[in-house]
Point group: C2
Chain length 270, copies 2
DNA sequence: AAGTGGTCTAGACCACTAT
DNA sequence: TAGTGGTCTAGACCACTTT
């Protein structure tokens, strides 16, 4: 694709050190590993438009020669860009620049976690009791209706502002010594941050938009039917059977998820 | 479950094929690369509970000896688990099993993309015209109010069912030859899938819960104030200035995002 | 001092793609 | 046949942590 996109002397002239936009060399005495430097250099060349979506990057052999690195180190730099979805490789053909697409984007739960990590956040346990499982909780936990399960209702407040309403059902396990710890702040934080030696092995999360129902609206100080975010979580124990199910509910305006596609404005080495 | 941590004869006996829970060897003639096999073996040992959250994995030196691989190959296997957030490494101390936490989860736009990729999905362009920028679009695009911009309104239907309402504003570029292509299906798909040689370099996405407004409710066949998902997208051109801004709106019940934390039920080699 | 992960080399062979 | 990425080896040196 397109002929003279390659900058003059980019690969032919090696010793000459052209003007301000010269291809940087690898600084062997830098704190930054060589593979990271090369990844940064290639990233910068893509951001500058020197390589555009669909263009082929220099081959690994060329990069080895150009930057004076071993093949493994060059491959590692390319792996970095591969992980960033900035390029893709085709065996036998080459390495190609990817276009920035929405599809590649992913939202993490940073805003959820920021709320929990905030020292101004208080967790108030509204209720803890053993109930007979029924309806949705029974179905999600895979137990027969009537089975005793532990139900916990919590409210997360930022200062005095209610932000998250949380309802959780858990298989009642008389032999489990950690149930008490799970009722308070620690138990909730563990859901996010994990705790060594205990806690679920795997889980499924589901995020959707809904409307505030009765108690949710009341607890969150909003009106019925107000837009809401719901995050459902289902965790499994070591026997691969459901251990706990629950949901976080927030007002729609209290929470949002952000992410980027493609490169950040000024990404590293350049 | 955690009885025989160091398995007898793990490296000494090579030909003998012990019972069902024997540590598998690396099959050198397999289509599966050695590093992937080792990652699968370690993953299976974690899933079995042989290593639990916080436990230290065998050192790289031990893994080299046990499985007969070179250090680089062992490191590569660990890098796989590192990328999965299944383990973390601490220089000078070792490699440790991570707990499955909500924090590590990320939602991708698979459900958005599935809708677009579905052959039953139709895209109907409701309107295309040049308007004077004002309010939110002008602010997001960083242009003075009154600047001419191209506005596009689309409706995505699954069969005859309206599913997504899309509004987009774009810097009007008379010299841009691809504007026409962007108006229809292709332009929208490009937002997700990218197209070689054109398209934005980077963008920002924002996902939030809201309520359907006037035309959104009408077009989606729902009532005002109905729970809604909104995905805002802002794309930048090569000059790092905003190029297009817009939002997808769906009814809350039409869209949801799912993900998992920790390992899948039966993850690979075991 | 011993052990750990982190980086890097300078080759090798392979499967696949293009010409 | 030549070139590409994919895998792998058998070492090396480093910074860091633990004993």
């Amino acid at each position: 694709m397109s002929a003279s996109r390659g900058r003059p002397g980019a690969s032919a002239v090696g010793a000459a050190l052209p003007a301000e936009d010269a291809a940087p060399r690898i600084a062997r005495d830098s704190f930054e590993p060589a593979y990271a430097q090369l990844a940064g250099i290639l990233r910068a060349r893509i951001v500058r438009g020197e390589f555009q979506a669909g263009d082929r990057l220099p081959t690994e052999t060329e990069l080895v020669a150009t930057y004076g690195l071993s093949p493994m180190t060059v491959r590692r730099a390319i792996k970095v860009l591969l992980d960033e979805r900035a390029v893709s490789t085709v065996p036998g053909r080459g390495t190609f620049v990817e276009a920035a697409t929405i599809q590649a984007a992913a939202f993490d739960l940073g805003s959820f976690h920021a709320l929990l990590a905030d020292p101004a956040t208080n967790i108030r346990v509204l209720e803890t009791r053993v109930v007979s499982a029924s309806g949705r909780p029974a179905a999600m936990l895979g137990v027969a209706p009537g089975t005793p399960v532990t139900m916990i209702r919590r409210l997360l407040l930022r200062g005095e502002e209610p932000r998250l309403y949380h309802r959780q059902w858990r298989i009642a396990d008389p032999g489990h010594p950690d149930v008490d710890a799970e009722l308070g702040v620690a138990g909730l934080r563990d859901l996010f941050e994990g705790r060594v030696g205990v806690g679920p092995k795997r889980g499924r999360l589901r995020l959707y938009a809904s409307a505030l129902r009765g108690e949710e609206a009341r607890r969150l100080g909003s009106e019925l039917g107000h837009p809401a975010f719901v995050l459902e979580h289902l965790f499994f124990g070591f026997d691969d059977r459901p251990l706990s199910w629950g949901l976080f509910v927030s007002r729609g305006e209290d929470l949002h998820f952000e992410t980027t596609v493609g490169f950040a404005p000024a990404p590293g080495a350049g």
